[in-house]
Amino acid sequence: MPSDYFPVFVFLLIAVGFPVMIIALSSIVGPRKPSPEKLMPYECGVDPIGSARKRLSVKFYIVAMLFVVFDIEAIFLYPWAVIFKDLGVFGVVEMGLFIVILFVGLIYAWKKGVLEWE
């Protein structure tokens, strides 16, 4: 029922509004004395070397991609779990097949060394 979600909606607003309120109050109450040293990025006390925007490893992309794929698998597992008792053996077999195929994908990633050194 959509009306069940009204408390959730209100609580979400509170959950987001609470930290916003804290930050707003604190910025009103605290002192303001900016100086060039304070505003520089922190790098163990020395001046920063080079720009902050460098190229990063492509491993993050692969991790995110694997995460998307297995997240979708998890999404299929949730409705299967709630209806699993009614499906019987057929349900176990079909989901087993699904899991095995995706597990093969994981093993492929494993063998390719993608899951190493993150």
């Binding site: 069940d4 979600y5 009204f6 408390p7 959730v8 209100v10 609580f11 979400l12 509170i14 959950a15 987001v16 609470f18 930290p19 804290i22 930050i23 109050l25 604190s26 910025s27 109450v29 605290g30 002192p31 303001r32 900016p34 304070k38 505003l39 520089m40 990025p41 922190y42 790098e43 920063p48 080079g50 902050a52 460098k54 990063l56 993050f60 991790v63 995110a64 694997l66 995460f67 297995f70 997240d71 998890a74 597992l77 949730y78 779990a81 709630v82 699993f84 008792k85 019987g88 053996v89 176990v92 989901m95 087993g96 899991i99 597990f103 994981l106 494993w110 899951l115 190493e116 993150e118």
Partner: protein, 329 residues
């Protein structure tokens, strides 16, 4: 009309109570951590401020509140302020679906002790964990600081790598319950708690919960002697406090979910349900602190390898074994 007003009034009262109790618990869990860690390291924790240090959180909070608001040059102002809000918001919003107790009767009305009973309760929690990643990524990116950015990305990669086995480890519980609603899950544990039916699932959930929250032994991305303070380096004053408090909120929330899913929620003999619930949650929090005092931390590559090569196959195995056992019995 009056009915609607009363319902909304009750809802708001419940929310204010939950918010206050959570904030109070968070504040005193920080003190509890420092005292307990201290005793485990054979020293006193802070015990000067107020009797036994009970005013310490208030002193810390007040100090942070009045500190200067620094924003790094060239930082992306909007994202810089948005990141802690997302992080704490996601941790706090989890409390909307947790059942704190059974039902109480006030003035002839039966009031259930949860803010909302939605029929996809556990998916809502999963969704909020997924959104919490943005808090870390944006914090790192917007600070315009090499170390923050790297720390933020690594924290995000850690969080998403462990979110998968976290989501999969509770499928066993769902198979036993047949419903996604948190209230139904607690009700289904009337005779036996799920930790006895799904011990392996519970263990996997617990390990993943440690990694999700970023606690030892998985706290590489934010501990004191690595990458300075990681994605939090450029945060000062209340924004830093929000990350700090948000982390403890997340710890308590994750403990509350563990209690709800595996340890019978508010169920227990003799004492009122809410007391049981808070007691169990505090036991879990104590366990978090205990583990922090005991274990060294994983290296980042060990951590990622563990999540993908060990935990993910084990959670899938848990699901298959649960399915087979349930069918045979």
């Amino acid at each position: 009309m009056l009915e609607v007003v009363i319902t909304i009034g009750i809802m708001l009262v419940k929310m204010v109570i939950v918010l206050s109790v959570v904030m109070l618990m968070v504040a005193y869990v920080t003190l509890m951590e420092r005292r307990v860690l201290g005793r485990m390291q054979v020293r006193h924790g802070p015990n000067r401020v107020g009797w036994q240090g009970l005013l310490q959180p208030i002193a810390d909070g007040t100090k942070l509140f009045f500190k200067e608001e620094l924003t790094v040059d060239k930082a992306n102002k909007g994202l810089y302020h948005l990141a802690p809000v997302i992080y704490m918001g996601c941790a706090l919003a989890i409390y909307a679906v947790i059942p704190f107790g059974n039902e109480i009767e006030v003035l002839g009305r039966v009031i259930p002790l949860h803010i909302a009973d939605i029929n996809i309760g556990i998916l809502y929690v999963f969704a909020l964990s997924s959104l919490g990643v943005y808090g870390l990524v944006l914090a790192g990116w917007s600070s315009n600081n090499k170390y923050s950015m790297l720390g933020g990305l690594r924290a995000a990669a850690q969080m998403i790598s462990y979110e998968l086995p976290l989501g999969l480890s509770i499928i066993g519980v769902l198979m036993l319950t047949g419903s996604l609603s948190m209230v139904d899950i607690v009700n289904a544990q009337e005779h036996v708690w799920f930790v006895f039916l799904q011990p392996f699932g519970f263990l996997l959930y617990l390990i993943c919960a440690f990694a999700e929250v970023g606690r030892t032994p998985f706290d590489l991305v934010e501990c004191d002697n690595e990458i300075v303070a990681g994605y939090q380096t450029e945060y000062s004053s209340m924004k830093f406090a929000i990350f700090y408090l948000g982390e403890y909120m997340h710890i308590i929330a994750v403990s509350a979910i563990a209690v709800t899913l595996f340890w019978g929620g508010w169920r227990g003999p003799f004492l009122p349900p809410v007391v049981w619930f808070i007691g169990k949650v505090l036991a879990f929090v104590f366990f978090f602190i205990w583990v922090r005092a005991t274990y060294p931390r994983f290296r980042y590559d060990q951590l990622m390898r563990f999540g993908w090569k060990v935990l993910l196959p084990l959670t899938l195995l848990n699901i298959v074994v649960t399915a087979l056992v349930t069918l045979i019995i």
